[in-house]
């Protein structure tokens, strides 16, 4: 308790170590810190998978909490029912939801002729650092490599950032450092969709004169050699267009097709189609939302 001098020395030492680590890691490009991070991914990946299996009933209950909210009145009448029965109901509801997600993923695979590796989101990182990242339970042993496209039945989810043997870290689209080249559904105008750190995305048109209307939809334009993004993956719907600010660019707000706060089943595109599917993957215009 009274060893203040020693603790101050220890504090100074640990802060120096931290700053050294930060300096080493900010320089980027491999190095010892990258090796340690790789080892941590290999170690914590399986641990997270295990933890996800254990806590899954809890996570499912949380995911279903929204659906349950709609039926609150009915549920209050049923509350006296057996608690075990309720748990059973929730898990079967979760299973049905997952089957529906798988169905939609299969539809995307068939329409887009992508080769997908299916995976589940086991962990999400969004703590102090304002990050939009996630861990999936597929890794290099499943054929997943860095800079691959990640999608689900609704649309574009993000890209693979780092890969461990049995798990991979994903950079999700709403992250502020995420950006993807996109194309407007109708006119084919090009632009960049970037994350804003929240659920809404932002679309910056390359041509400030180009027309963009509310409720127009966007797909990925595709990257050279399909790295990191394959073409034709649905991204979202334009919700508002801001008037030209500087005259150099036009910005539109997007509502993404994917619900990033409720991610579960996803697919990693391990092989892209030979020709882009253009807008074939967008849902029919009538069934929007």
């Amino acid at each position: 308790m009274r060893d203040t001098r020693r603790t101050r020395l220890l504090l100074a030492l640990l802060l120096t170590v931290s700053v050294t680590l930060i300096t080493l890691d900010s320089r980027g490009g491999g190095g010892p810190v990258a090796a340690v991070r790789g080892a941590a991914t290999a170690l914590f990946g399986p641990a997270e998978r295990l933890a996800a299996v254990i806590v899954h009933p809890v996570a499912d209950a949380v995911q279903n909490a929204r659906h349950l909210g709609d039926y609150r009145q009915r549920i209050s009448a049923l509350e006296r029912e057996n608690a075990a029965l309720q748990v059973q109901l929730r898990t079967s509801e979760a299973a049905r939801r997952r089957a529906a997600e798988l169905d939609r993923l299969l539809r995307v695979t068939a329409l887009g002729q992508y080769h997908l590796v299916p995976a589940r989101v086991v962990a999400v990182g969004r703590a102090l650092g304002f990050e939009w990242t996630a861990t999936i339970d597929a890794g290099s042993r499943d054929g997943v490599r860095p800079e691959m496209t990640l999608l689900n039945g609704d649309g574009l989810v993000g890209r693979i950032k780092t890969v461990g043997p049995t798990s991979a870290t994903v950079l999700l689209l709403p992250d502020r450092i995420a950006a993807v080249a996109a194309r407007l559904e109708g006119s084919g105008e090009l632009g960049v969709v970037s994350g804003r750190g929240r659920d809404a995305l932002e679309f910056t048109l390359l041509d400030p004169q180009a027309a963009v209307r509310v409720s127009e939809r966007l797909v990925t334009a595709g990257s050279p050699n399909n790295v990191p993004f394959v073409p034709g993956v649905p991204i979202g719907t334009v919700t508002s267009v801001e008037p030209t600010r500087s005259g150099l660019t036009r910005v539109a707000q997007l509502r993404p097709f994917v619900r990033f706060t409720a991610l579960d089943l996803v697919g990693v595109v391990v092989a892209a189609p030979r020709t882009g599917p253009r807008q074939a993957l967008l849902p029919p215009a009538s069934a929007r939302g």
Binding site: L14, I22, L24, A123, A127, F130, T169, D175
Partner: protein, 174 residues
């Protein structure tokens, strides 16, 4: 460092990290999620001495830097948590002197530490040029994080503190 205590810190912090990324970060809450690791570090700091609190906080932060979905610069949370662990131990001693066995003091320490941690992490991030740190992100994340951490504290603090005291009593050190 006494080994039973170090073992206790390991047994408490590592599951806390896993619960953080697999459950708490997925909760559909507005703002930043509750920070279980931070609350656990504060709990350990309240019942142990400063140098132990400092070391535990440092390696807990380092682990949080490395645990998979994290993509920020390694060392950032280690720096933030080391300082915060030291502060928590410091404030914890004052709280213990002011009022014995009151529940308000420790929760107040959690709230203060959550504010400091949020601002400090944002400051380090801004210094490193992280584009994720914006005023609007800060304005939504810090108040919510403080709120959630304070809500989490009464569930976490008593358990961890009791466990640590028990290990201290039955251990071979001191």
């Amino acid at each position: 460092m006494p080994t039973p205590r170090a073992l206790l810190a390991f047994v408490v912090v590592v599951p806390a990290l896993l619960v953080q990324v697999t459950v708490l970060n997925r909760l559909p809450l507005p703002g930043a999620p509750p920070d279980l690791v931070l609350v656990v570090v504060v709990a350990l700091a309240l019942v142990t001495d400063r140098s132990f609190a400092l070391l535990t906080a440092f390696w807990a932060g380092l682990a949080a830097d490395l645990v998979p979905p994290a993509t920020h610069t390694v060392g950032r949370l280690a720096l933030v948590l080391a300082l915060v662990g030291w502060l928590a131990a410091h404030w914890g001693e004052q709280v213990a002197e002011d009022s014995d066995r009151s529940a308000v003091g420790p929760v107040l320490v959690v709230a203060l530490v959550a504010v400091v941690a949020g601002l400090l992490d944002a400051a380090v991030g801004a210094l490193l040029g992280d584009p994720r740190i914006t005023w609007s992100a800060l304005a939504s994340s810090v108040p919510t994080a403080v709120l959630y951490d304070v809500v989490l504290a009464p569930f976490v603090l008593p358990g961890v503190c009791a466990l640590a005291r028990r290990v201290d009593r039955e251990g071979v050190f001191r």
